[in-house]
Subunit: 305 residues, 2 copies
C-alpha cells in the first residue's frame, strides 16, 4: 500500500488510479493517512448546476485553459448511478479520450451512491489523493440534482454554478439554494435567447441576497465553442487570489476538514450500527414489541464507546 | 418515572401529558420501554396535505364522529416551528378548547424540529404513549410541507391525503408523491368550483399509478360545515377492516417498527457522533492536517464495539 502511494506520488498515473480504487473500496486507510498531509495546498474548484446545463463541456474547456497555463489538472466527476442521466457517463468516457495522452491531466469518475448530497462519499478521498499527487487545480464536477448540490460548497475553495439563459432558470437556481453557494456564476449556452434577462435576474438576486466581501462575477459562455472560457478561468483565479489575500482560504479549509471529519465519523458509525443490526436480532424483538425502538437504539449505539 | 406511567395508563391525563413531555425531552426511556408492548393495537390515522387544505378542521370533525362511535381519540399535531405557518398553532389551541372537558379526547401538539420529513422526532414516541394509554384511534396530523410528508405513510395504518378543488391541486399532490401514499383521499372545501375535475383527475392518476388490493376512495367534504365527514370516517373504517381482513396490518406494523428503529438509531448515532467530536481534540488535528479524517473516524468509532 505504502509502495503504491510512493509510486503514485512520484507521478505514476496507474498507481494513482489503483490508490483511488483502494480508498474508494474503504481499504486504503494507510494511503489516506500518508497522502493527507500533502493534500492541503491544491485549489479545489467545484462545478455544479442542473443536469444539461453544460457542466462537462465547460470543465473540458477549463482543462485546456489550465493546461495552457501549465497547470496539472485533475477532475473528479461524480457519475450518476441513475439510468435517467446515463448519457453523462458516456460523455465522460468520450471526454477522457481528449486528454488520454497527457500525463498532466487526470480524470476520474466516481460512482454516486447518493451520499453527501450528489457527491460520492469517495469524492473527498479521491480529491485528497490527486491533490497530494501534485495536481492543482482539482475540479470536482457534481451530478447536478438541485438542492442536493449544496454540499459541494464545503468541499471546494471556489464553487462555480452553471445556469442557462431563459426565463426561470435563475429562479430555479435560487430555489435550489445555488445562489448562496456560487463564487462564480456562468451563464452557459449564451448563444440562446434570454441571456441579458438571466444575467440581470442573477445580479438582482445576488445583490438582494447578501452583503459580501466577494461579489460573485457572472460570466457568459458558450462552452461548446470555447467562448467565455478564458473569462471563467480568470474569474476562478481572481477568486483564488481573493481567498488567499483575505486569509479566508484558511477558514474554508478548516470548514472543509470539519465537514470531512463529520462525514467520515457518520459513515463509520453507520457501518458499525449496520453490522450490529445484522448480527443481533434486534429488529425481530422490536417488531414483536418485546423491545422498544429507542431502548434498542441506545443499546446499539454505545454512547460511551 | 414508572409511577408516572402507571398513573397515565390508569387514565390520568395530567400524568400522560407529563410522560409525553419526558419522552419528548429524551429523558423518558423507561416510560417508552414500559409503554411500547401495549402500543401495538391502536389504529393510527395519518392526515396530510398542503398547508391550508383544511386538515385541522377535518381532524376536529373526525374527533366528533369518533366520539359519537364511543371511541377514545388522541390527536398528535405537529406544530410548525416556522413563523410562516404560525397561524396553525393558534388554530390548534382554539381547537383544543372544544374538547377540553372531554377526558376521552387527548390533543397534543409537538414542535416540528424538521426531523423525519415534517414529522417531529417525538411523534412516534408520543403516538406510542397515547396508544398504550388506551386511546384508539390515534390521529397524527402533519405540518403539510409537500414532499416531506411522505414519511407519514410509515407511521400510520391509514393515511388520509387532503386536497382542495381547482386546477392543479391534484397535479401538485402527484408531484409531492402524495398519490402513492394515500389510502383515502379527501377533496375538502368541496363547495368551491372544480370539484368534479379534481375528483376525475385524482381517479385517473390513481388508476394509472398502481394496481392494488385496495382502491383508495375519493371523498368530497366541506369540513367547516361538517358535510362529508361521516363518509371520511366510513372510508377509514373500511380501510381498517381491509387491513385486518387481508392480514396487511401486520406488514404495515412491521414496516413501522423497522422505520422507528431506523430513526431511533439515526438519532442516537448523530448524538453519539456529536458527543465524540466534542470530547476529543480530533478536529484540531484534522484541520492542521496532522491526522486525516478517515483515520480519525475509525479511531473515534470503535468498529468492534
Amino acid at each position: 500500500m505504502s509502495e503504491l502511494w510512493d509510486q503514485a506520488r512520484a507521478g505514476d498515473i496507474r498507481s494513482l488510479a489503483k490508490a483511488i480504487t483502494a480508498v474508494e473500496a474503504a481499504s486504503g486507510l494507510g494511503i489516506l493517512a500518508a497522502a493527507y498531509p500533502d493534500a492541503g495546498s491544491a485549489h479545489i474548484i467545484g462545478v455544479t448546476g442542473a443536469p444539461g446545463a453544460g457542466k462537462s463541456t465547460l470543465v473540458d474547456r477549463l482543462i485546456t485553459v489550465a493546461r495552457a497555463a501549465d497547470k496539472r489538472v485533475a477532475v473528479i466527476a461524480v457519475d450518476p448511478s441513475s439510468p435517467f442521466t446515463g448519457g453523462a457517463i458516456l460523455g465522460d468516457r468520450v471526454r477522457m479520450q481528449d486528454h488520454i495522452d497527457d500525463p498532466d491531466v487526470y480524470i476520474r469518475s466516481l460512482a454516486n451512491r447518493g451520499h453527501l448530497g450528489g457527491i460520492s462519499a469517495a469524492t473527498p478521498k479521491a480529491a485528497a489523493l490527486v491533490a497530494a499527487a501534485g495536481f492543482d487545480p482539482v475540479i470536482i464536477e457534481t451530478v447536478g440534482v438541485g438542492q442536493a448540490e449544496v454540499g459541494i460548497t464545503e468541499r471546494a475553495d471556489t464553487t462555480i454554478v452553471v445556469v442557462n439563459p431563459g426565463w426561470g432558470d435563475s429562479v430555479q437556481a435560487s430555489k435550489a439554494g445555488l445562489l448562496e453557494i456560487g463564487d462564480v456564476f456562468v451563464v452557459n449556452k449564451a448563444d440562446r435567447p434570454g441571456v441579458d434577462e438571466t444575467v440581470r435576474d442573477l445580479r438582482q438576486m445576488l445583490e438582494l441576497g447578501r452583503a459580501l466581501q466577494w461579489t460573485p462575477p457572472i460570466v457568459t459562455a458558450v462552452a461548446t465553442e470555447g467562448s467565455g472560457v478564458d473569462e471563467v478561468w480568470a474569474a476562478i483565479e481572481a477568486h483564488k487570489l481573493h481567498l488567499h489575500d483575505s486569509g479566508r482560504i484558511d477558514e474554508r479549509r478548516a470548514v472543509r476538514a470539519a465537514a470531512e471529519l463529520h462525514d467520515a465519523v457518520e459513515v463509520s458509525v453507520r457501518r458499525s450500527v449496520e453490522s450490529r443490526l445484522a448480527v443481533e436480532s434486534v429488529l425481530d424483538e422490536v417488531v414483536s414489541r418485546r423491545l422498544d425502538p429507542w431502548t434498542a437504539a441506545s443499546r446499539l449505539v454505545d454512547l460511551d464507546g
